[in-house]
C-alpha cells in the first residue's frame, strides 16, 4: 500500500518534471535502459553528470572571470556541458547552454555572464529536484519503469 503510494508519487514527480520542462524524453529512455542487470543505472548516470558538471562549471567560471575571455575554449567547455545535459535529458539546462553558446559565437561576454548565472541556477534546481526524486524512488523500491522486471 505505502509503496504503491510512494510509487505513484514518484511517477507524479517525474511527470511534473517532464511537464515543467526540467527533463525530456531522454530521461525516460535512460530509465528504459535500467534493468535487473543495471538497477541503478539512471542514478549512476545522473550522479556522474553532476560530478562532471561541477568540474565543467568551475572551468567555465574561471574562463569567464580571468582576464580576456577566450570564446572558443569557453564554447568548448559549454559544448561538453551541453552534451552531458542532453544525455541525461536536462532540458532546461540544455536550453540555457544553447543560449550561452549563441552568446559565445557572437562574442558577447555580457550575455555569456548573464546566461551562465542562468545555467548555474537551472543546474542547481535540477540537482535538488533529482536528489529528492531519487530519494523517493529508493523508498518506493525497485523502479517500476518496466513491468516485465517485476515478475
Amino acid at each position: 500500500m505505502d509503496r504503491n503510494h510512494l510509487k505513484r508519487q514518484v511517477d507524479f514527480m517525474k511527470r511534473s518534471f517532464l511537464d515543467q520542462g526540467y527533463l525530456d524524453e531522454q530521461f525516460i529512455q535512460l530509465e528504459e535502459l535500467q534493468d535487473d542487470d543495471n538497477p541503478n543505472f539512471v542514478e549512476e548516470i545522473v550522479t556522474l553528470f553532476f560530478n562532471d558538471s561541477a568540474r565543467l562549471l568551475q572551468n567555465i567560471e574561471q574562463a569567464l572571470v580571468s582576464g580576456p575571455i577566450d570564446f572558443p575554449s569557453l564554447d568548448n567547455y559549454m559544448h561538453q556541458f551541453k552534451g552531458s545535459s542532453s544525455s541525461i535529458g536536462a532540458k532546461r539546462v540544455k536550453n540555457e547552454c544553447t543560449r550561452f553558446k549563441e552568446y559565445c559565437t557572437a562574442g558577447n561576454a555580457e550575455g555569456c555572464l548573464r546566461t551562465f548565472v542562468q545555467v548555474k541556477q537551472e543546474h542547481a534546481i535540477l540537482k535538488t529536484k533529482l536528489e529528492t526524486y531519487f530519494q523517493l524512488a529508493k523508498q518506493a523500491g525497485p523502479s517500476g519503469t518496466s513491468g516485465g522486471q517485476i515478475r
Binding site: L30, L33, I45, D52, S87
Partner: protein
C-alpha cells in the same frame, strides 16, 4: 496560376480586340470622313438652298462663310485625325509619347487656318455670337490627343484639361506631359490672339466640364485598374462615340433639311384656305391632297432618317374655325392635358373638342405613322404651342425640349417649321412673320427608337453602351436614350447639337462587361491568393497535427512495447504486436499524407530497396485485421509462388497502395464476405488455364462452377470477374518492356464483396477528393484521396490500375507494378533471424480441410512459407478417406498438423474426426502414437468461452485467428508444438536489435563521461560488450589492427583529436595493414586471420545535419547515429554491418 494566366490571356485578347476595333474604326472613320468630305458639300449646298427661303437673301453670305469655315475645319480635322491615327498605329507607347507633338502639330495647322481666314473668322465670331449656337474651341488631348474645333454643326468631342490631368495621374508613365500648358499651347495662344474667341470658348466649357465631373469620378476606379487598357479603350470609345454623333448629327441635319423642304412643298396647299371655298367639291380635293401628301411623306420617310413622322398643322384663327370644321368634317380636338411631359394616350375620337381660343393649329396632313394626331390642335399642348410660337416668330426650325411623344410615349423632340405665305426678308419682324404664317410643319424625333435603330445598323450595340442626354439645361440633363448606368467604365461624352438644343452622348465601351470580367478576375486572384494561403495553412496544419499525433503515439507505442515484454500468451502477444504495428503504421500513414503534397508537385521519388513482399502483405493484414474482424469480413492474402521472395522497389509505397485498396474494401464491405489480396506475376495471366495458378484461375472458372450453391470464391460469396479489372491495361504482361531479365511485373488484385461502385461514379473514382457520391463520405467517411494517391503511385511504379465493380456484388481493383528481382540473400527475412525455432517446422506435413478451394490455397500458401507441405481436403469426410488411404504410405507418418476451417467444423463431426485420428494413428502405427497431429481451428472470430471449450475438450490444439499471416501462424504453431516448454518460446523474446548486437564488441569513444556512460548503457542493454575510451588518441590505440572490436561509436567533437581526424587516422592505419597483407609483406596470421580490416565506425552526433553527415562519410565513417540513441535508428545503422555477419 491558371487564373492569372487566364486573366493574362484575357487581357491580351481584349487588347488585341481593342486594337482590331481601332483598326476597323480607323478605316471606318477615314472612310466616313472622306466620304463626308465628298458628300457633305452637295449636302450642304442642299441645306443652303433649303434654308435660303427661310433666312432670306441676307443669310446667304453668312451661310457661305459658315460653309467655307466648316469645310476648312473639316479638312483640318480629317488631316489631323489621319495623322494622329497613323502615328497611333505605329505602336501604342510610341504613339502616346508622340501625342503632344501631334497635338502641337495640329495646333499649328489650326493656327494657320485661323490666320488664313482671319476675316472669315471675324465674320464667324460675329455670326456665332449672334446665334445661340455654341462653339467650342478646345484643345483636346489625352492619350489620343486631338485638336478639334467644333461649331454647332460638327460633333465636338472634347476632353477638358482637368480630365487630362486626371488621366495623366493615372498614367504616370507619361508624366512629362502633365503640364496642361504643354499639352495645349494652342489654346492659350488662340485665346490671347483672339480675345473674341475666348468668350466663345467659355460658353460651352462649363457645360462640358460639368458633365465631366461625374463621369471622371466614375472613371477613376476602372482606369486605375486598367492602366494598360484604358489608353486603348479611351481611343476606342472616343472614336465610337464620335462616329455615332457624326452619324446622328448628319441624319438629324438631313432630316431637318427634308422637313424644311416639305414645309415648302406643302405651302401651296395651305393656300387652299383661301382657295378651297371656291372649289365646289372641297372634300374630294382635300382628301386627294391628303392622300398625296400621305403617300409622299411615306415614300420620302427614308430622307428623314431620324424622324418618326411629320405632320402639317394649319393656322386657323377662331373666326375661321367653323368654316374649317365644316370643310374637313371634324371638330378641332384638344390634347388630353396641356402638360406634355405627362404620358397621354391619343385617340382623337375620345378627345374633347378644343375650347375656344384665338387661334388653333389643327393637324390636317400627316405621315401615316403619326396619323393619330390628325385633327388635334397642336396649340393645346404646351410644348408644341411654345414651339409653334417660337418657330413662326423666328422663321427657323425650332426644337422642343424632350417630352413624351403622343401615343408612342417615347421620349422625343418635335421640330417645327413655320410655313409662311410670302417670302419674308431675313430681318423681318416677328409680327410680320406671325402675320405671314399659314401653318406649321412638325416632325417628331423619336430618339430612343431611332438611336436603337442606328445602333443596330452599326451592329455594335453589344460593345458600347450609349446614352443620349438633352443637356440644354446643363444642371439637369434629361436622359433620352439608354439605361442610366451608374458605375460606368470608360465614359466618353460627345456633344450633339440640335439647333437650339444641346444633346450629349455618352458612350461607355463594353467597359461594364470588361469591368465585370476584370472584377471576376480580381476576385479570382483574391481567391487564388486565399486558396494558396489556405494550402500553406493546410500543409502547416498537417505538419502540426502529425507532430501532435506522433507525440502521444510514442507513448502508446512505448506502452505496447512494454506490454509485449511481459509474459503474454500467443494471442495476447499478437494483439499487442498488432496494436504496436498499427500504431507504427499510423505514424507512417501520417507521413504519407504529408507526402501527398510531394506527389502532387511531382517530387515524390520511389525508393529502390530490397524487401520481402510477403512480409509487407502480412503487415497490411495485421494493420487492417482489427477492422475486418470487427466487421466479420474474412481477409486473406495469397502470393503466387512465381513471385520472388525478395523484390526491389519501394515497400512503403507498395504497402500504401494495398492499404488504400484494402482499406476501401473494408469500408465498403459489410457484415459478410471477404477481401482477398492476391499477387501474381503479370506474365502468369497469359498462361494456359491448366498450368495456371489456381487462385489466379479463379475468375475463369467462376461463372460455370457453382457446384454446391456457393461460389468458388474465398468465402463462397459471388464476386465480380477479376479478369475484367485488368482488361484495359495496355502493357499487361508484355515481356517486351521487361528487357532486363531481372525486371518483373507484379499483378496485384484486391477483391471484395462490398457494395460496389455505382455505375455513374465509376469514371471519376480516381479523381482526388471525389467519392462515389456526396453521401459516401457521410456514410463511410474518408476524404476520397486514397485512390488518387494510389493511382499516382502505381504510375510511378510503371504500372496501371483498373477495376471492375458491380453494385451489389463487389469490386475488384487490380494494379501492376514493375519491380526488380532481388537476391534472397540480400535480405534475410527477419523472422528467420529472430526466431531460430521457425526452421523447426521445415519439412512438416499438414492437412488443410476447407470446403473453399481458394481459402485452402491461401492456407497452404502460408504453410509453404514455413516449409510445411500441405494437402487439401474439401470436407472432413474427404479428409478421413485421405488419411485412410495414406495410412499405408509414409505420408501419414509425418503428418503433424491438421488445419480445419470453421466453415466445415462442428463439434460432433470434429469430435468424431478427432477420435478417428486417434484410432487411426493407433491402428496404423504403434510406435509413434505419441506424435498425434495437432489440430488447428481456423476462424475469423471466436469468443473466449468458445475457445476455452474447444481447447479444453481437446477438439483442437489451438485456434488460429484469421487473417492468416506468418507471425500469427508461427506463434500459434510454436505454442502448440512447444506446449511442454510453454512460456519459454514467447517470453522475453530478444529484440531484433539484441540479435544484432549480442556479444558484439563495441568501442565507444567520447570525451564526455556522461555521454560515454549512456552509450555504454544503451549498447550493453542490447547485449553488446562495450569498451569505452575518452579520446580520439585512445581510440586510435584501441583500433590498431589486430583488435577484436566489431564496431566503433565515435563522438565527433572531442578535444585534441576530434572524431573526424581519429577516423581518418584509423582508416589510414587499416589501409596500410591491408596493403601489407595483400602484398604479402605481412601474414594474415599477424592480424588475427583477417584479410581485410575495416572497422565500422559510426559517428555519434547530436545534430544530424546534412553537412555533418557528408563530412562523416568523407573522412571514412560508415554511418552515424544521433545522440541520444533511438532504437530504430540505431538498429538501421547497425543492421548494415551485422545483419549479414
Amino acid at each position: 496560376m491558371t487564373c492569372s494566366a487566364g486573366a493574362g490571356v484575357f487581357l491580351k485578347l481584349s487588347r488585341l480586340f481593342v486594337k482590331i476595333r481601332r483598326w476597323v474604326l480607323v478605316r471606318m472613320s477615314l472612310n466616313c470622313k472622306l466620304s463626308g468630305l465628298n458628300g457633305r458639300l452637295p449636302n450642304c449646298s442642299k441645306l443652303k438652298k433649303a434654308k435660303e427661303p427661310l433666312h432670306g437673301p441676307n443669310s446667304v453670305r453668312k451661310w457661305r462663310r459658315e460653309l467655307l469655315f466648316f469645310f476648312c475645319l473639316l479638312v483640318s480635322v480629317v488631316l489631323g485625325s489621319i495623322g494622329f491615327l497613323l502615328s497611333f498605329n505605329h505602336g501604342t507607347l510610341w504613339g502616346k509619347e508622340k501625342a503632344p507633338n501631334s497635338c502641337e502639330e495640329k495646333a499649328q495647322i489650326l493656327l494657320q487656318h485661323f490666320n488664313l481666314s482671319k476675316n472669315q473668322l471675324h465674320a464667324l465670331t460675329s455670326l456665332l455670337s449672334e446665334s445661340d449656337q455654341m462653339t467650342s474651341l478646345q484643345c483636346t488631348k489625352e492619350l489620343g490627343s486631338k485638336v478639334q474645333l467644333s461649331d454647332g454643326i460638327t460633333c465636338a468631342l472634347s476632353v477638358t484639361c482637368s480630365e487630362m490631368q486626371q488621366l495623366h495621374k493615372q498614367h504616370r508613365w507619361v508624366a512629362d506631359n502633365d503640364e496642361p500648358r504643354d499639352q495645349c499651347p494652342v489654346q492659350d495662344e488662340t485665346i490671347s490672339r483672339k480675345p473674341s474667341l475666348s468668350m466663345l470658348d467659355d460658353s460651352p466649357v462649363p457645360f462640358i466640364s460639368q458633365s465631366r465631373v461625374y463621369s471622371i469620378s466614375a472613371n477613376n476606379q476602372i482606369c486605375e485598374k486598367n492602366i494598360l487598357q484604358s489608353g486603348a479603350l479611351v481611343d476606342c470609345v472616343k472614336e465610337h462615340c464620335e462616329s455615332f454623333c457624326t452619324i446622328i448629327k448628319d441624319q438629324f441635319n438631313v432630316s431637318m433639311n427634308h422637313v424644311h423642304a416639305l414645309a415648302i412643298l406643302v405651302s401651296p396647299f395651305t393656300m387652299g384656305n383661301i382657295l378651297l371655298p371656291l372649289i365646289s367639291d372641297v372634300n374630294s380635293v382635300f382628301s386627294m391632297i391628303t392622300e398625296n401628301i400621305c403617300a409622299y411623306t411615306e415614300r420620302t420617310a427614308f430622307e428623314r432618317p431620324l424622324t418618326s413622322g411629320v405632320a402639317y398643322a394649319l393656322k386657323v384663327p377662331h373666326s375661321e374655325r367653323e368654316l374649317f370644321e365644316k370643310q374637313h368634317g371634324w371638330t378641332i380636338k384638344k390634347m388630353e392635358t396641356e402638360d406634355q411631359t405627362l404620358v397621354q394616350d391619343c385617340i382623337p375620337e375620345k378627345l374633347d373638342p378644343a375650347p375656344i381660343h384665338d387661334e388653333y393649329a389643327p393637324v390636317i396632313f400627316s405621315q401615316e405613322t403619326v396619323s393619330h394626331i390628325v385633327s388635334i390642335d397642336m396649340m393645346s399642348g404646351k410644348e408644341d404651342r411654345e414651339n409653334i410660337l417660337r418657330a413662326r416668330a423666328t422663321g427657323k426650325g425650332v426644337l422642343t425640349s424632350p417630352f413624351k411623344l403622343l401615343k408612342s410615349n417615347h421620349l422625343g423632340v418635335v421640330l417645327t417649321f413655320a410655313v409662311y405665305n410670302t417670302d419674308l426678308p431675313l430681318d423681318a419682324m416677328p409680327e410680320q412673320r406671325i402675320e405671314a404664317t399659314v401653318g406649321y410643319l412638325g416632325a417628331s424625333y423619336d430618339v430612343p427608337s431611332l438611336v436603337e435603330k442606328l445602333l443596330h445598323q452599326l451592329a455594335c450595340k453589344q460593345m458600347i453602351v450609349v446614352n443620349v442626354y438633352d443637356t440644354t439645361n446643363a444642371s439637369a440633363p434629361i436622359n433620352m436614350y439608354g439605361d442610366e448606368v451608374t458605375d460606368t467604365g470608360l465614359l466618353q461624352t460627345s456633344n450633339l447639337d440640335f439647333g437650339d438644343h444641346n444633346g450629349s452622348m455618352r458612350c461607355i465601351a463594353a467597359i461594364n462587361r470588361i469591368a465585370k470580367v476584370e472584377e471576376a478576375c480580381r476576385i479570382m486572384t483574391k481567391l487564388k491568393v486565399r486558396a494558396e494561403a489556405a494550402d500553406v495553412a493546410k500543409t502547416q496544419f498537417l505538419a502540426t497535427v502529425s507532430h501532435e499525433i506522433r507525440t502521444p503515439m510514442n507513448g502508446v507505442l512505448g506502452m505496447l512495447q512494454m506490454l509485449m515484454d511481459t509474459d503474454l500468451d500467443p494471442n495476447q502477444l499478437d494483439y499487442a504486436q498488432t496494436a504496436h504495428a498499427s500504431g507504427k503504421d499510423l505514424i507512417a500513414l501520417i507521413n504519407e499524407v504529408l507526402d501527398q503534397a510531394k506527389i502532387e508537385s511531382g517530387r515524390l521519388e520511389l525508393e529502390a530497396v530490397p524487401f520481402d513482399l510477403r512480409a509487407v502483405l502480412d503487415n497490411v493484414l495485421s494493420l487492417l485485421s482489427g477492422k475486418s474482424n470487427k466487421k466479420g469480413i474474412e481477409l486473406a492474402v495469397y502470393v503466387s509462388n512465381q513471385v520472388p521472395e525478395v523484390v526491389i522497389g519501394d515497400p512503403g509505397r507498395f504497402r500504401q497502395i494495398i492499404t488504400n485498396l484494402v482499406g476501401n474494401s473494408i469500408k465498403f464491405t459489410n457484415d459478410k464476405g471477404h477481401i482477398f489480396i492476391s499477387v501474381h506475376l503479370a506474365d502468369e495471366v497469359r498462361g494456359t488455364p491448366v498450368i495456371m495458378d489456381q487462385v489466379l484461375g479463379q475468375g475463369l472458372s467462376l461463372a460455370h462452377d457453382m457446384s454446391d450453391g456457393t461460389y468458388k470464391t474465398l468465402s463462397g460469396i459471388p464476386v465480380v470477374d477479376r479478369w475484367k479489372s485488368w482488361k484495359s491495361f495496355k502493357k499487361l504482361g508484355s515481356t517486351i518492356s521487361m528487357e532486363e531479365s531481372d525486371m518483373i511485373k507484379l499483378l496485384v488484385t484486391v477483391e471484395d464483396t462490398g457494395v460496389g461502385i455505382p455505375l455513374e461514379a465509376q469514371n471519376r473514382i480516381f479523381t482526388p477528393f471525389m467519392q462515389a457520391d456526396s453521401s459516401t463520405s457521410r456514410t463511410y467517411g474518408g476524404t476520397g484521396i486514397g485512390l488518387s494517391i494510389s493511382e499516382r503511385l502505381v504510375h510511378l511504379m510503371g504500372g496501371e490500375i483498373g477495376f471492375v465493380s458491380e453494385p451489389g456484388t463487389g469490386s475488384t481493383f487490380s494494379f501492376t507494378g514493375v519491380f526488380r528481382k532481388g537476391e534472397t540473400s540480400s535480405l534475410d527475412s527477419k523472422w528467420q533471424q529472430c526466431d531460430p525455432s521457425v526452421s523447426e517446422f521445415q519439412g512438416l506435413r499438414a492437412l488443410v480441410i476447407d470446403k473453399s478451394n481458394i481459402r485452402a490455397e491461401v492456407t497452404r500458401y502460408h504453410l509453404q512459407r514455413l516449409g510445411i507441405t500441405a494437402d487439401i481436403a474439401f470436407s472432413l469426410k474427404l479428409a478421413r478417406s485421405y488419411l485412410s488411404s495414406a495410412c499405408k504410405t509414409s505420408l501419414s507418418t509425418n503428418l503433424s498438423m491438421v488445419l480445419i476451417d470453421k466453415d466445415v467444423w462442428d463439434k460432433e463431426t470434429c469430435l468424431s474426426f478427432h477420435q478417428f485420428l486417434k484410432d487411426h494413428r493407433q491402428n496404423s502405427s504403434t510406435e509413434i502414437s505419441i506424435n498425434l497431429p495437432k489440430i488447428f481451428l481456423l476462424t475469423t472470430s471466436i469468443s473466449p468461452r468458445e475457445r476455452f471449450e474447444i481447447k479444453s475438450a481437446g477438439f483442437a490444439d489451438n485456434v488460429l485467428i484469421k487473417p492468416l499471416r506468418l507471425g500469427v501462424l508461427i506463434a500459434c504453431l510454436q505454442d502448440a508444438f512447444a506446449s511442454g516448454k510453454k512460456g519459454q518460446v514467447s517470453r522475453k523474446k530478444p529484440s531484433t536489435l539484441g540479435i544484432l548486437l549480442r556479444q558484439k564488441r563495441i568501442l565507444v569513444v567520447d570525451d564526455n563521461v556522461v555521454n560515454r556512460r549512456v552509450a555504454e548503457g544503451a549498447l550493453s542493454k542490447y547485449g553488446a560488450i562495450v569498451t569505452c575510451v575518452e579520446s580520439g588518441k585512445a581510440a586510435l590505440a584501441m583500433l590498431k589492427p589486430p583488435h577484436s572490436f566489431d564496431a566503433c561509436f565515435m563522438d565527433l567533437q572531442m578535444p585534441e583529436m576530434d572524431g573526424f581526424e581519429a577516423t581518418r587516422q584509423i582508416r589510414c592505419m587499416e589501409s596500410k595493414v591491408n596493403k601489407e597483407i595483400v602484398s604479402g609483406d605481412a601474414s594474415i596470421e599477424m592480424f588475427g586471420n583477417k584479410a581485410h580490416w575495416h572497422t565500422p565506425i559510426l559517428a555519434m552526433t547530436a545534430d544530424v545535419i546534412q553537412a555533418t553527415n557528408e563530412e562523416c562519410m568523407k573522412c571514412g565513417m560508415d554511418d552515424y547515429v544521433s545522440k541520444p540513441f533511438e532504437e530504430e535508428q540505431l538498429y538501421s545503422a547497425v543492421a548494415h554491418f551485422f545483419e549479414s555477419g
